[in-house]
Subunit: 357 residues, 2 copies
């Protein structure tokens, strides 16, 4: 049994603690300053304010399992004293907060497990993307062991105990085995990998491409004049996405042949998971990016940040001659949509290839 | 402009002629002896009897585009005389009929394009799978040029003009370019490849795995006690499927790194496309395979044939020491369901891996 402290009490930071709580571990959910209402509600009711079971629009909050308690951010220093594992549970929007405020105070002996998914420019200006664990290490001189979670998992489905497979990655396989022992249940299945870059890159790339696949949903609505989905076009975009992700993974030194499967699984769940799908659908229906963002105002669209960042990085790699623009027609079109407010005009013909062996 | 004769007037054999007809080619849809009602109905009404636009259960037949005519099988010999391209439009169930009756009468100068997807044992007893074009060549001494179509495409969505990407494969790139010129439209996009084995294997494998992914749909229904889908578990199975397909592709000498994208696109559309989804869902809900087949009596379940064949081949490869059973936990579970009427018990823990680099 271990004491796990989570910083960030949002949906994913909370849901991932369910299997650990079911295993009998002690969980402290610590809200960031943005999570005060979640903490207040949780302390009062034992329910999570934002993590919901949603059936056809009817939302029911989850009661958190026994062993999970809610805490304000001010308690963090005290809680760190006997913490065995620190979870980073913030979204990409909370990454700076976590790096600047939390990373420096983590004792060297306390390992970190981060659920925040994404890649970030390494700051050298050449379009090189690095993983969040690599980025976090820049904010401390201590030898922290920063692990991360990849794999197809939406928070509300995990909280619903839907069978879920994920990959924990980190620098030390023995440490990973111990972390796995805290989380593995009959509904939460954990693979392990010391290939941090590969795992994190594979699951970050899906953000841009989930938007790309869901363009087809909106295009169908537009063509049919009603809510009606077609799957040939979705599958065409899904296949093209998988191909571009494979090439990008290798460009990011992420070993595509090993990690692409994490990426396609994560892409699948993200196409159906909610927020990214909404913006892709709106764009497909004919809205400009600015209009779509206005319609979805108030919704956290982490994927858009990652999508922009990935697309910008690829453009930089193309400009530096390290990548071939012809290999990334879908991503570069997504970039036009996000950065230039362009109209959707899927470059189908550019997906065509010719192979003579 | 060319004269294209199709043998097999079912849904896919007919739908693929729509883009060719829109390009102004002359199409003769020749029914097999099983298609007589389709031919009779088509000649009378200009509509296709079984190819339907289905919106929430309301089915509307398609009027076929100008340039397509319907013919009984007895007319085939006469029609072959001025045919520029022969399409094999039968399902896997019609493959023997096509090989035994049609292949021997095709003139050497008439190239073939086959839409029948699948792999078949090479008959040597070692579990080696070959593509249908390779199999077809065994039925003639002539040097026929047999090409084939792979890629994510359901017939009714193609007939609906939903943007679709496919790959034509065949032995001769110049010939492939000519065939492409007959079919390419602004909604039907054709890649080309001379890697027949790789393309056909990639798109055949999806049959077994689409059943595997849709198990999660039925399992959700069962757990929830109602029609409610979860996507974490579907994505877990999708990712595992992609991984096993990648390994299988290489075992079949299908060059996974080049062709896996065709496989995952095709898997995606098949999970949503209908018949395979139905049987996977029923199995997930708790039906035995025999019961599920009884419920779906009358529905053509081509995928089941391919799924069994692939799973049997892998088992043979495992027994011969050429494949590792631990690499194919999902496919081997699917085999238990189909061959042994086993209960669904997804081997989630067997999907877990550990990589130390």
């Amino acid at each position: 049994m271990a004491i796990i402290t989570v910083v960030g009490a949002g949906m994913m930071g909370s849901a991932i603690t369910f299997p650990a709580a079911h295993n009998g571990n002690t969980i402290r959910l610590v809200g960031t300053p943005l999570d005060r209402k979640i903490i207040e509600h949780g302390q009062k009711t034992g329910e999570h304010l934002t993590l919901c079971h949603d059936v056809n629009g009817v939302k029911t909050s989850f009661k958190v399992p026994a062993g999970i308690t809610f805490h304000y951010y001010e308690e963090l220093d005290a809680l760190l004293a006997d913490t065995d594992l620190l979870l980073c549970g913030v979204s990409s929007f909370g990454l700076d907060f976590f790096c600047e405020n939390v990373i420096p105070k983590i004792p060297e002996k306390v390992p970190v497990l981060s659920i925040t998914k994404g890649m970030i420019d390494d700051g050298e200006g050449k379009g090189n993307l690095i993983s969040y664990p690599e980025h976090m290490l820049k904010f401390t001189d201590k030898k922290l062991k920063i692990n991360a979670v990849g794999g197809p998992c939406t928070s509300y489905e995990l909280a619903d105990l839907d069978p879920t497979t994920v990959t924990f990655c980190g620098p030390d396989i023995e440490l990973l085995r111990w972390i796995k022992s805290l989380f593995e249940t009959d509904y939460y299945h954990v693979s392990l990998s010391t290939d941090i870059r590969g795992v994190e890159c594979a699951v970050a790339l899906k953000n841009a491409y989930a938007l790309g696949v869901s363009l087809a949903i909106g295009l169908s609505y537009r063509r049919e004049g009603r809510v009606f989905e077609h799957y040939n076009s979705q599958a065409a975009l899904f296949g093209q996405a998988a191909k571009e992700m494979y090439l990008l993974l290798d460009l990011c030194e992420g070993t595509a042949a090993r990690n692409i499967f994490l990426g396609v699984g994560d892409l699948y769940v993200t196409v159906f998971g909610g927020r990214t799908r909404k913006i892709g659908t709106l764009l497909g229906e004919g809205k400009k990016f600015d209009e779509a963002m206005e319609i979805l105002k108030g919704v956290t669209l982490e994927s858009i940040v990652i999508a922009r960042r990935t697309a910008d990085a690829v453009l930089q790699m193309v400009e530096a001659g390290r990548a071939n623009a012809a290999d990334f027609p879908l991503l570069l079109h997504i970039r036009e949509l996000l950065a230039d407010n362009a109209d959707v005009n899927v470059p189908w013909a550019k997906f065509e290839t010719e192979f003579e062996g």
